[in-house]
Amino acid sequence: MSSIETPDIVVIGGGNAALCAAITAAEAGARVLILEAAPKPYRGGNSRHTRNFRCMHHGPLGPLVDSYTEDEYLADLLKVTGGKTHEGLARLAIRTSEDCLPWMEAHGVRFQPSLSGTLSLARTNAFFLGGGKGLVNAYYRTAEKLGVQVAYEAAVTHLELTDDRIDFIDYTQDGQTHRVAPKSVVVASGGFQADTDWLARAWGPAAKNFLIRGTPYNRGVVLADLLDQGVEQVGDPTQCHAVAIDGRAPKFDGGIVTRLDCVPFSIVVNKDAQRFYDEGEDVWPKRYAIWGRLVAAQPDQVGYVIIDAKSLNLFMPSVFPPIKADTLEELARKMDLPAEALVQTVAEFNAACGDTSTFHPTELDGVATTGLTPPKTNWARPITEPPFYGYSLRTGVTFTYLGLKVDERAQCAIGNRPVSNLWAAGETMAGSILGQGYLAGFGMTIGTVFGRIAGKEAAAHANAI
């Protein structure tokens, strides 16, 4: 590496927030070094797997139709977080999001109309052409043109905090240890969800069976190092955002394609072939996060979705074909479920189904079971038509809530005073805004808004020295 001997700013992390910070700082004249833990093909952290950005707008903007006001945006956010939201920072993110979209376009990001199957987001979320990796590629091109240096497979091991200042950063690359002492530091290296030991300490041993939907490189090393030294933390350390995904997904990095949308048209049983929750409580986008927790609470943290032939084409195809059988007994055998119990569970469910003539797959149709515990309150059609299909379900972790507490300038704190040269952006500080739950596309909004703020502040600090 033909390195900058003494960069003004080191940005730790290589995803959306890191790149927004690096680009903004470089445009302000700072010499910037990005330390990305992943190798180049995996650069970009969880941003690689994202697809859109939730954006306030007055009137049509880029790919977005109509308008989406600050108050409506905030109301959507408060709904999913159950009020556990830092309103000041949330409003800052929301308000600034409108400026972000043209900024993103000016820095190489390209948008596309809402994807097929996601029309409900056409007003609120701007989709990246090619998805998050396309965005990340564009930002790396822009950053490199601005002279930003990027070190891949550069794993930060320690930030030396003295009083209220980061003195230096240690990192390893190609088996060599390096020390760098920049004027400003931006941490944008995500949460800790890929460290399954940490996850198990926080959540309990069941977490060992969770799948990690995103990058294997978000191991929380920098986060832990800073928290250990007393940097202010925020967010419930035991909680993570988790959804129910295809149980055959890889341990890490399965991303969007492992999503399974068939639960509302199914019954879901545990490994004893017993149902455990109302599969038809609400439309799937409003329920998939709940099912991550429900499955996590079942034995071995696994669930089994059972549908029949008439439901097969009602949901988006997923990456793995379903397990298929002509009888329920055969399906049970193929899925390692107790056959007799499954047959009985299905029979009880079928007997509890009533009139299905008003079945409607995309609306709450009220086609419900009677006298069944737990009930199925919508889309309850008997499972009778072979062939029968099954999917396994596991808990897929998206991100963790524990993070660095920042102020409206994205600056970190120790005790009651700011760390004079440390800023944070993206998932690693998202807990400062989101206490629980998640709103589609809001992670990229936080990353972009606070990445740009952090880059600006870090550059102003470096330029003033």
Binding site: R110, Q112, S116, F127, L129, G130, G131, G134, G255
Partner: protein, 353 residues
């Protein structure tokens, strides 16, 4: 046939992953067509493969490329299916299999083309014509080139009928053809959806280089072809035989077309040499280069013939040029040249959706 079913199976595996993701929907015509299906028949995959222009936008944007265990490489998977479909649908099939992946065979045919023209010119000689016809009479040229022109047309017509049957196309309507021609005229599928171009010569950087080079070749070729057609009309209908002056229609069309063709081919080869071969059809790289080389040589030898037409080198250059043209025509259905016909047909079928 075993190999083909493996290639189809791999394309199917990848298409199913793409269909569960859909992030690339805006890049080109392939993805909206792909996302409209739930399962992929061999015909569906053949159609998707021929719609794909190998712009590579989806590859560089994909979060599932190797080293990810899903190992997505849709540009190559579709290129393989596409290449196989051209071999398989060729008439006669044996010729498709002989040339589509064999640059040496293409070169051999070109040399045979030269030899035939030398021999013909030498043994028949002139019947006292002017200019080029002093080397080889007009009638002899027609006797050689009329069948060499008609044969590829018949062959390609048969292949396209087979293609339409394989992809289960609806009856063709003029509106569909118009839409397809518009797309081809602008090479919309190499624009990348956002209009920034495609990813070809420098990883994920978007440029218009390949689109421009391709259009130079395409329009250059069409100008040359028009030049010949105009000359034919002038000869037979207007009784104005060659040679023609610089400011005649055949010359103006031929010269501008020849220049575009040569420059476009040089640039296409340069880009191809810089591209990542692992994103194109397996084993077809050499034949593609040979084909573009032959096409460029047709243009170059034509220009040289014009420039040195008044010198002693003319008879030799005429034989070389006509030999290259002969080889090019005869090989059209069995080389990369066929892609234009399949691509246009795929766009027509896509317009039916």
């Amino acid at each position: 046939m075993q190999m083909q079913s493996d290639l189809l199976q791999e394309a199917r595996r990848q298409a199913e992953i793409c269909n569960a993701c859909r992030y690339c929907e805006g890049y080109c015509s392939v993805f909206p067509a792909l996302h409209a299906e739930r399962a992929f028949s061999d015909g569906d995959l053949t159609q998707l493969a021929n719609l794909c222009h190998n712009c590579r936008g989806c590859y560089y944007a994909c979060q599932y490329t190797a080293p990810h265990e899903f190992e997505l490489n849709l540009p190559q998977a579709l290129a393989n299916v596409r290449q196989e479909s051209w071999e398989d649908l060729a008439f006669p099939q044996v010729a498709g299999r002989a040339f589509q992946k064999n640059g040496v065979a293409i070169a051999v045919v070109a040399v045979i083309g030269f030899a035939v023209l030398f021999w013909t010119a030498k043994s028949l000689g002139s019947e006292g014509g002017e200019g080029f016809y002093a080397v080889l009479s007009h009638n002899a040229m027609v006797a050689i080139f009329l069948p060499a022109f008609l044969f590829p047309l018949v062959s390609i017509a048969i292949s396209l009928r087979r293609y339409l049957k394989r992809v289960d196309a609806e009856p063709l309507k003029p509106a569909h053809l118009v839409k397809a021609l518009k797309q081809a005229a602008q090479m919309r599928n190499l624009k990348g959806g956002h209009g920034d171009g495609c990813n070809f010569e420098d990883e994920d950087r978007f440029t218009h280089a390949r689109r421009m080079a391709h259009q130079a070749v395409m329009y250059g070729f069409l100008l040359c072809f028009t030049s010949t057609s105009v000359a034919t009309v002038m000869h037979y209908v207007l009784d104005l035989p060659a040679p023609y002056g610089l400011f005649s229609l055949p010359k103006l069309l031929g010269l501008s077309g020849g220049l575009l063709l040569v420059l476009g081919c040089v640039e296409l080869i340069r880009l191809k040499l810089r591209s990542d071969r692992a994103l194109g059809a397996q084993g077809a790289f050499g034949a593609e280069i040979a084909f573009v080389g032959l096409l460029g040589f047709v243009g170059l030898s034509g220009l040289l013939l014009y420039a040195l037409g008044q010198t002693a080198a003319m008879p030799l250059l005429l034989a070389v040029h006509l030999g290259a043209v002969l080889a090019f025509f005869l090989l059209t259905p069995f080389t990369k040249m066929a892609h234009g016909f399949y691509r246009l047909t795929a766009l027509v079928v896509d317009a039916q959706r």
